[in-house]
C-alpha cells in the first residue's frame, strides 16, 4: 500500500437550536444571555409532577427543515426518554426521539474543491437541550436557562471524506436553515453545535474502519482543524502497526489536538423508552402540504431569480444571495430606488466592505435600505457626486439618519451652477498655465489635472461633468 493510500469517512450529528419564542416543553422563553436560572419553571427544572406539553412551532420548524432538505416526514412520530445521569440534565433523562423521528432521509448538495456531491441525511429528530455547566476550582455550577430549549438533531450518513467537505456541508446547512427562518445559527450563542464521527480506511476499500467520535464542536473552523488532526492521527496509528480504539475524543483548541475522554465517565446505556407524558404527534397530508406551500425561496433559486429579474451577472447574484440578510437588504434597496444595478454596486462594494471591516452582521447596520436608496437617488439626480456619496454613506454608517437631511445640513450638495463652475475653471487655468497650454497643444490627459483643480477649488462639490465642459470651452476646444 502506498503511504498516501488512506481515505477518511466522516459523518456529522448537527444540533441546531430552533428559533422559537419558548422552550420545547414549557412556556419559558428560549433566549440566550439572561442571568443564570431566570428562565426556568418546574417543567424544565424537572420538578416532580411537572408535565411537558410540546411546542407546536418547534414541530413545524423541524418539519420545515425536513421539507427543505428533502426528507420524508413521518405521519406519526413519538417522543422517547433517553436515560443518562449528568448534572446538566435535571430529570436524569432527556426527552428525545428514538425510533419515530419527525424526519427520515433527505440530503444536501455541497461543493468542495470544485466537485459537487450529495450528502445523504439519515434523519432529523427533535429533542430538548440540556443546561450549561460552569466549572470552578472544587465545584461546578449549573444554569438551566438553556435546559429544555428546542434542539433539532440532523444526522448525516458517513458520506463526507475530508475536512473541506465537512466545512462545506456545515456552511450549506447553515445557509438553508437561516433562509428557512428555522434557526439563527449563531455560533457564538451556541445555536449550532456538532459531533463528528470519523474513521479512515485504505483508499478504495469498502469496509469501514473503527471510528472515533469527537464531541461538542461549536465552531466550523474547529471542526476543520479537529478533523485534519484526527484523520492524520488515525493514519499515523495504523501506519505504525497500531489499532484505533472506538472511543469518544475531545478537541482541545489550544493544544490543537484531540484527546481521549475517560470512558468510565461516559459509560452509557440510554435505555430508551416511549415518553409516557407526551402523546404521539400525527401530521396529516393536508398539514404538511400547507407547510410545504410556505417554504421559502432557497439560495440557489434566489440567485437565479436575481439574474433574471434584476439582470445582475451570475457572480454578483451569488455574492448577494450568500447571506439571506444581505439578499433581503439588497432587494429592499433595489425596490426602493428602482435601480438594481446601482443597488447591487453599493451593497457589493461599500456595504459588504464596511461590514467585513467591522465584523458586523447586516442586521445591525444603521444605514436602512430606504436611506441607501435615497442616497442612490441623490447621485442619480446629480445632487451629489460619488466621492461625496461615499462620505455621506460613512456618516450614515456611523450615526444612521437620512441622507437628504445630511446633505442639506452639511452643505454637501454638488455645485451645478454653470456660472459658478465657469469662474472656478477660469481660476484653475490662470493658476496652472502649463497644463492649460499642454491641453491646447493636444495633450488630452492635462484636462484631468485641471478638472482635479476645479474639484479642489470647489472642495469636492463641483459636478465634474460641468467642470470638464467649462474648461474645454475656455480652452477653445468646444
Amino acid at each position: 500500500m502506498s503511504p498516501s493510500a488512506f481515505e477518511a469517512v466522516i459523518g456529522l450529528e448537527v444540533h441546531v437550536q430552533l428559533r422559537t419564542e419558548t422552550k420545547l416543553f414549557c412556556a419559558c422563553p428560549n433566549r440566550f444571555g439572561a442571568e443564570p436560572n431566570t428562565l426556568v419553571c418546574p417543567v424544565c427544572l424537572g420538578l416532580p409532577g411537572a408535565l411537558p406539553v410540546a411546542n407546536r412551532e418547534a414541530i413545524r420548524l423541524t418539519v420545515m427543515a425536513g421539507l427543505l432538505l428533502g426528507c420524508e416526514i413521518h405521519r406519526i412520530s413519538r417522543f422517547d426518554r433517553k436515560s443518562y445521569f449528568y448534572p446538566d440534565m435535571p430529570k436524569n433523562f432527556q426527552i428525545s426521539q428514538y425510533d419515530r423521528p419527525l424526519c427520515l432521509g433527505g440530503g444536501l448538495e455541497i461543493e468542495a474543491g470544485g466537485t459537487h456531491k450529495r450528502v445523504r441525511l439519515t434523519r432529523i429528530h427533535l429533542e430538548e437541550d440540556v443546561g450549561k455547566s460552569l466549572h470552578f476550582e472544587t465545584t461546578s455550577g449549573v444554569d438551566f436557562n438553556r435546559a429544555g430549549a428546542p434542539l433539532m438533531e440532523i444526522v448525516t450518513e458517513p458520506d463526507l471524506s475530508s475536512p473541506d467537505e465537512a466545512m462545506a456541508f456545515l456552511l450549506a446547512l447553515k445557509q438553508i436553515l437561516v433562509y428557512g427562518g428555522i434557526s439563527d445559527c449563531n455560533l457564538e450563542q451556541g445555536n449550532l453545535r456538532c459531533d463528528i464521527n470519523c474513521s479512515v480506511r485504505p483508499a478504495g476499500s469498502s469496509a469501514l474502519g473503527v471510528k472515533t467520535e469527537i464531541k461538542n464542536m461549536n465552531t466550523f473552523k474547529g471542526v476543520h482543524r479537529a478533523l485534519t488532526y484526527e484523520i492524520d492521527r488515525q493514519i499515523r496509528v495504523l501506519r505504525g502497526g497500531g489499532t484505533i480504539r472506538q472511543e469518544t475524543r475531545r478537541w482541545d483548541d489550544d493544544a490543537g489536538a484531540t484527546d481521549s475522554m475517560r470512558s468510565k465517565e461516559y459509560a452509557h446505556d440510554y435505555r430508551y423508552f416511549p415518553e409516557p407524558d407526551l402523546l404521539p404527534v400525527e401530521l396529516t397530508e393536508a398539514q404538511i402540504e400547507t407547510w410545504r406551500a410556505d417554504l421559502p425561496e432557497l439560495p440557489a433559486a434566489r440567485r437565479a431569480r436575481f439574474v433574471r429579474e434584476y439582470h445582475l451577472p451570475d457572480y454578483d447574484a451569488g455574492v448577494l444571495t450568500a447571506d439571506k440578510g444581505v439578499a433581503d437588504y439588497f432587494e429592499a434597496v433595489a425596490r426602493s430606488c428602482g435601480n438594481p444595478k446601482a443597488a447591487s454596486n453599493w451593497v457589493m462594494t461599500d456595504v459588504l466592505r464596511v461590514l467585513g471591516e467591522q465584523g458586523m452582521e447586516i442586521g445591525h447596520i444603521r444605514v436602512t435600505p430606504e436611506a441607501l436608496a435615497k442616497l442612490i437617488g441623490l447621485v442619480e439626480r446629480r445632487v451629489i457626486n460619488m466621492p461625496t456619496a461615499r462620505e455621506v454613506f460613512a456618516a450614515l454608517f456611523e450615526h444612521g439618519g437620512d441622507p437628504e437631511t445630511l446633505v442639506r445640513e452639511r452643505g454637501l450638495g454638488q455645485v451645478s451652477d454653470a456660472s459658478a463652475i465657469d469662474a472656478l475653471a477660469a481660476q484653475a487655468i490662470e493658476a496652472h498655465p502649463g497644463p492649460a497650454s499642454d491641453y491646447r497643444n493636444g495633450k488630452a490627459a492635462a484636462l484631468q489635472f485641471l478638472i482635479g483643480q476645479v474639484m479642489k477649488l470647489s472642495r469636492g462639490k463641483a459636478d465634474p461633468r460641468l467642470a470638464a465642459e467649462a474648461l474645454k470651452r475656455r480652452l477653445g476646444i468646444n
Binding site: 414549557c26 412556556a27 419559558c28 436560572n37 407546536r56 436524569n92 465545584t139 404521539p280
Partner: protein, 101 residues
Amino acid sequence: MNNPTETKAPAMNVEHVAHLVRMELTPDETESFGRQLGRVLEYIGQLQQLDVAEVEPTAHAVPVRNVLREDRTAPGLPREEALANAPLARQGLFIVPRIIE
C-alpha cells in the same frame, strides 16, 4: 406468580446499573437489590413467552394525539424559588460536585 423457575431471566448486573445511576451500594444492598430486580426480570420473562406478533405496541393507553401548545411565553419561577431546594447555590447557580471531564 406461576412457576418462576420455568422462565429463568438473565441475572441483572446490579453494579453496572448502580454506576449508570451514580449510586453507591453496600455489598448487602447489591445482593438484596440484585435478588429483587431479578424477580422483576422473571416477570418480564413470563411476558416474553406470550405471542404478541399480532399486537400493536402500546405506548399510551388512550388514543389521543397532538396535544400541543402555542409558542407563547408565560412567567416561570423566580430565581430564589427555583434555587430554594438546592442543597447548595451560589451566584444564581446550582452548585454540584465538580464535574470531571
